[in-house]
């Protein structure tokens, strides 16, 4: 059993992790907006923009729609924030070491990411707006389409641990630790090189989870259904949602970097964090470019894409892991 000291240590680390995640996400959000503006031949906003938006939202009036369920309407943004904070704590910043009696099980991470999306679904329905409900339905459909390739691609590094040499483990820290060293020639021992197709599947799933086009913004397509689940939200509650969504820049990129890009590459402390953050930033930039260079597809396209191509990629890699070629 953990002692009280352990608990305090973990809570300290929790705050440190969300601090790191917050500042990285702020920077990444600015890079996202600036880069997409530059690619669209615009100037783009200044660096404080993402945070100014959120602070401004907190300064607006508090408001609850008449048809909304007050309790769930207020609770769901808080749940979204709480879930993404836990996720940003659970996904270590590139280090195999992470404190306390928590083994960061990949299945738990998967479930918390679903919980994060679930908050949006409940929000859409609880707000009593027809647009919110359509957005929530689309969000559920997106969860369903993404879930299977995401789960497979998420578990492949953990299943492959046995092949790399260490034993079976679902813990994300073990996955990071297994990627140290050299694969062939000069290539590092990243799972990206072992299972490129699975990494593509995971990348697309995470792209979608972080509301990036071509599929990610279907649930809140503003030209079709205003803001989807968030249509009836405004003021501080929208601010909390936006704050929670800001963390996506850290959480989903860090997950990819930890699982397929070797985290911090086993370097010593300040260096591995730096390497990790640079990798995350590169992923953010790639995501931004894809986001900017694509149209929004329909939800049936998303289904077709994820449950055929992406799933095929993931299953092919899974067969490789299981059969071992």
């Amino acid at each position: 059993m953990a002692t009280l000291f352990d608990y305090l240590l973990i809570i300290t680390f929790y705050f440190a992790a969300i601090g790191l995640a917050f500042f990285f996400s702020w920077g990444a959000a600015w890079v996202f907006r600036k880069l997409s503006a530059r690619l669209q031949a615009r100037k783009g906003p200044p660096a404080y923009q993402p945070i100014a938006d959120i602070i401004k939202l907190f300064g607006k009036e508090r408001f609850i729609p008449r048809l909304a369920n007050k309790f769930l309407y207020t609770l769901s943004p808080l749940v979204a924030l709480s879930a993404i904070l836990i996720l940003s704590f659970m996904i270590p910043p590139g280090t195999p070491f992470w404190p306390g009696p928590l083994a960061f099980d990949l299945i738990v991470i998967l479930y918390f990411s679903v919980m994060f999306s679930l908050a949006f679904v409940i929000a859409g329905w609880a707000s009593g707006s027809p647009w919110g409900k359509i957005g929530a339905s689309r969000e559920v459909a997106m969860i369903l389409s993404v879930e299977l390739p995401l789960a497979i691609a998420l578990l492949i590094p953990s299943l492959a641990l046995a092949r790399v040499g260490s034993g079976f483990s679902l813990s994300i820290t073990d996955v990071i630790a297994a990627q140290e060293g050299i694969f062939i020639w000069f290539l590092p021992n990243w799972f990206l090189f072992h299972y490129p197709l699975a990494s593509v599947a995971l990348f697309l799933a995470l792209l979608t989870k972080s509301w990036m086009r071509p599929f990610g913004d279907i649930p809140e397509a503003e030209q079709e259904i205003f803001a989807g689940p968030l249509t009836e939200y405004g003021g501080p509650l929208l601010g909390i949602f936006e704050l929670a969504r800001l963390f996506r820049f850290y959480v989903f990129t860090a997950l990819f970097v930890d699982l397929y890009l070797g985290g911090g590459d086993g370097l010593i402390f300040p260096l591995n964090l730096l390497v990790f953050l640079v990798k995350c930033l590169v992923i953010v930039i790639i995501m931004t470019i894809i986001h900017v260079a694509s149209a929004r597809y329909r939800i049936s396209h998303a289904f077709k894409w994820f449950l055929t191509v992406c799933l095929a990629f993931a299953v092919f890699s899974l067969i490789r892991v299981l059969v071992g070629f």
Binding site: P46, F58, F63, F226, A227, G235
Partner: protein, 150 residues
């Protein structure tokens, strides 16, 4: 604390564009303002076509008897603090579609005048249509008013 909030409000005005009725031209000029040559995202302006999210309602066109109700409703559904910019001559006075001079317009059988007949207006930007630069200036004045809160 209030200083921070005032700063944030000034740096992040989200706009919604409401076409009250008219020739649709000011609408296009507002979109122009968003596009690369003028790019108001530099000033933090985002086009949120959702009154719950928007801070500044840019209205254009004259108010007809038919559209008055929905303009009022859209304005009501915005959350405080909020400011309204009346864009174009029609939104300021009713423009060419009404009889009369200046603010002393007479209603025709359909048009009741400028946007201020339906909702309170904070900034007037005349012109048919106003130049993009004028629109940006109008928004900037609205931002100054927004900074003060209510």
């Amino acid at each position: 604390m209030m200083g921070l909030m005032s700063w944030a409000r000034g740096k992040s005005p989200w706009i919604a564009v409401l076409h009250a009725g008219g020739c649709n031209n000011c609408d296009i000029e507002v979109l122009d303002v968003l596009t690369p040559r003028f790019d108001v995202e530099r000033l933090g302006v985002l086009w949120k076509q959702n009154p719950r999210h928007a801070d500044i309602l840019i209205t254009n066109g004259c108010v007809s008897k038919h559209s008055k109700v929905f303009i009022k409703r859209i304005y009501d559904q915005m959350l405080a603090p909020k400011k309204v910019v009346a864009l174009g001559s029609c939104a300021c006075t009713g423009g060419i579609y009404v009889e009369g001079e200046g603010r002393n317009v007479e209603e025709t059988h359909t048009i009741i005048g400028g946007v201020d007949k339906a909702i309170p207006v904070d900034v007037y930007v005349p012109g048919c249509p106003p130049k993009p630069e004028a629109i940006i200036q109008g928004v900037a004045i609205a931002i100054e008013k927004l900074k003060k809160g209510d």
